[in-house]
Amino acid sequence: MTRAIAMCGLLAASGLAGCAPTPAPQPAAPPQRDLVVLAAQPESGEIGRLVVTTSSGTVELARAGESTTVTAGGPPGAVVVLDDAVIRRHFGAALAVQPPAARHFNLYFEVGGNGLTTESRVLVAEVVVTVQGRVAPDVSVTGHTDTTGSAESNVTLGLRRAGLIRDLLVQAGLNPSVIDVVSHGESDLLFATPDNTAEARNRRVEVTVR
């Protein structure tokens, strides 16, 4: 029997059709302790992976709706796919208040200057509109550089560029108290490059509206 249940889990995990209609025990109200479910990303539909570990075992969830129930002292239970109605019953209240996803805007400076490119100037106005449409908004202005020069000098350079964008956003009407200015220097490249590589696409200021 245990083996049949394990097979069920395996079949479900590999995406094959459900188990044969053997009377697999579907406990209506299991004595569960913790329930862990993998869901699709609300906006993109992207599906990640969860690895659930206890002192006596590990289970991996890799498809939307896959779940495991963990009872204290035991290994994570076999993977069970939950349908939307069951997920809503357990998590409906939490899902109902999920905030909208953050929006990101990459702003670029004209080559050799402190002025924004035409496209980026248009984005500044869009940032302001997006902020105005949010409840209790936060804005992060993050300076990024390419990998030319030292990591430390790039943090400073990124911070200076981010400060310029912050000033533009305040001029455009944003409340300075919701704006956070930071620099990630060369630690968060948009396009991966080796060290000491000039790459215009990495020299950007990223504005995040949350």
Partner: protein, 173 residues
């Protein structure tokens, strides 16, 4: 905060500052203040130490910090080590600096046991401890930059997150 009264009630003005309004016009003081703001480092922004902010709060919802509980009002800041708690009619949503979204159903308790989002210093951490109730978690940048830095914990298990959307429910014993 120094406040200079420039009304006609000279008697109420402290003796030692009676001459000030004449030497330093209020307009000039205001300009000085603005100039100081302008040269202040931008990293001093008010929310820079916070991990995130409350975006939705319905019914009974609170933030427990250092043993003190305060209502989790919309717009309230959330810090590392804070405990988020909802009552029988409560729902609460928080968004963290790295875009992580956390939302709680009723009768729930989730601690932001660890949070660091400073990629330039190589400091990335996110530990959410679900003590009871239901939590929906949508991963943010920390999970992208360093998946092993993200951990969801329940009383029975540790959950490693490789991106996206996790739902965790803990039945109180």
């Amino acid at each position: 905060m120094l406040r200079l009264k420039v009304g006609s009630d000279k008697l109420s003005r402290p003796e030692h500052m009676t001459h000030l309004p004449f030497l330093v016009p209020p307009k000039l003081i205001a300009m000085c203040c603005l100039a100081m703001l302008a040269i202040a480092p931008p990293v001093m922004a008010q929310s820079s130490d916070a991990a995130g902010r409350v975006k939705t709060s319905i019914g009974s919802a609170s933030i427990v910090r250092g043993g003190q509980s305060a209502p989790a009002a919309v717009g309230a800041l959330v810090y590392e080590s804070d405990l988020l708690r909802t009552g029988a009619d409560g729902q609460l949503a928080v968004m963290l600096k790295d875009d992580t979204r956390i939302s709680l159903g009723p009768r729930s308790e989730v601690a932001l046991a660890a949070f660091a989002y400073a990629p330039a210093d190589g400091r990335l951490a996110m530990v959410l401890r679900v003590a009871r109730g239901a939590m929906a978690y949508v991963s943010g940048r920390i999970a992208k930059l360093m998946p092993e830095a993200v951990r969801l914990e329940t009383p029975t298990s540790v959950i490693g997150v490789r991106g996206t959307h996790a739902l965790v429910k803990v039945e109180a014993p």
